[in-house]
Amino acid sequence: MILAMFRVMLLALLRDRGALAVTFLLPPLIFVIFATVFAGASGEAVRLKLVVADQADSPASRRLVAALMAEPNLRAERDLDATVAAVRAKVRSGRVDAGLVMLTDPAGAGAPFLLITDPTRAMAAPLIESQVQNALAEHVPGVDAGKPRALFLHDPISGAKKGRGMVLYYAGAVTILFALFSALYGALSLIEERNAGIADRILAGPAGLAPAIGGKFLFLVLQGLFQAGAIFLVAKLLYGAPVRAQIAPWLVTSLAASACAAGLAMGLVALCRTRDQAQLIGISLFLILAVVGGSMVPRFLMPPWLQGLGTLTPHAWVIDAYQAVLWRDAGWQDVYPAWGVLVGLGLAGLALAYFTVRRVRR
């Protein structure tokens, strides 16, 4: 009898491709993604983006710049303007992780370097300091980097309270994470309505499915918007996040994020045959997207190829958009692409849901 039941269980597993994939393919896949992301976050595989400005223009500083440009553990670029303002602007825009300005000859006395950092990428400063010290010891003879000496002046961008940037980062990260999960649960009603024949009843009417799908989408968008409102209200009350001052771009970003989450969730659910299937696939997929997109570990700590992959996730666009409007004081033109991508993804998912649900299943 034990073997009989064992066989039933075995056949059930072998004949269910979804269960097979979840049991044997998904765990290694998630392991690889988590290992890649979190191993990168430990510093071993981090390749930070650094902009270098050489105001000293001495033989030692030129050698150091060349060494930093050639350093495989950095993605260094030289700023031709060589002004503190230009470097600060680049750091503030988020295009680079930190900026190094060589104020005086590194071989001379005093603190020759100004390290401009973004508090939302706090880990970047010690990592870059370490890289600069190594390069200095190796390529600038006569400078003993090991000797106690203050080499760096620090300039964190924005006069904001330290830590607020990170709060805003995770407010955005959590917003898109839960917008997707909430939308997924809301969209599951598509399957229930299809199975119960409600979709058939609606499709038999003159208006077809469009108003029903549209109404569902509108609800999920507003649900996501209010969810984002709750998260950022707490961020404002507890951490002083500057939402009120940027309410209009915050509202547009939140609407775009919610529309993206609603559309993607509806499209995904419409493709699934059962509620269980939709939940399993949806949760797994959204979890992977969250990790890759930076909802759990900031993307700048990931290997470059994974950072590139992250731009394919809504999480990365949402986080960047919130950062741009609330932290980096970016202009509207800097967030249009993110809004466009998010709304586009949402509408694509919505269209997929519409055409999938109205299809006759045989």
Binding site: A196, G197, I198, D200, R201, G205, P206
Partner: protein, 314 residues
Amino acid sequence: MTGGRPILNVWGAEHAYRSRRYLRGVDLTLRAGEVYALLGPPGAGKATLVQAICGRIPLTGGDIALEGHNPRDTPICRSALGLAPHNLALYGHLTVRENLLTFGRMAGVHGAALRDAVSQTMHLTRIADREHVPVGRLSTGFQRRVNIACAFLHRPRLLILDEPSVGADPVAREALDGTVRDLRDTGVAILIVTHDLELAGDLADRVGFMREGRKVMEGAPRQLITQAFGQEMEILVQLDEDPDSGDEIVLAAAGLERRDKTNVWTTLDAGGYVAAARLDVALRKAGVIPREIRVRQPSLQNLFTLVADWQQAA
């Protein structure tokens, strides 16, 4: 009541998908105030025909006119159509009234007209006394009536009831019959798609038998039965327990056939009660003791079996 104006016309409907032909030249006309039952085994093409009438699938041949318009080409004409799917297409967490309001709005009825329609429909379908109860807490039979009410709310000229009696107990069935009759009296044409031959026999003005994508027989139930069986009566022999193989030989020799894996054996005989008495004597003599023998007019069930046999022979 079959003299009303035509609401639905189907001419030579054909539908094929991949290599399979689901409909093979089906004709159908439904008039205002008529109840038509579409019968047939699973896979006969009934559901496909309903999907075509609802404009869900294109025809590969023939045409359909709902109030004079093709429902696929002219979606607006589908406002003349109400569909009660075979599943309970309702929101279980909403009350009866809330379900009616929801589906009314989706059908394009709003404001005071909607409120009036909800009240009238609840009374017509006899569900008003539970209007504030969540549908999920109601019996299946009651839910069936709510399912129909939601399809009738916008006052369609054609009401399609797909398996309306599934899950309904005898009391609920009686209430359902009453509801359908009351709806018919409003002048709506009702197309019932069902396996429930008793329901069809009780309610339908006309029935159509479908098999393998074709309509193989159509007419008023009593007329079809008379045409098929003439003066023959159905004799039903009820046994106490499963007959052994010897008894089965005796029963078969007496011309009896087992009905649907039950202990009821039937035959048709123009001799009626006299033939039944003779059969009783013969069976007892052979050692098979019936618990009960009944004689009745042949039903749609007999006709259905006859049609199936003809088709198999063909």
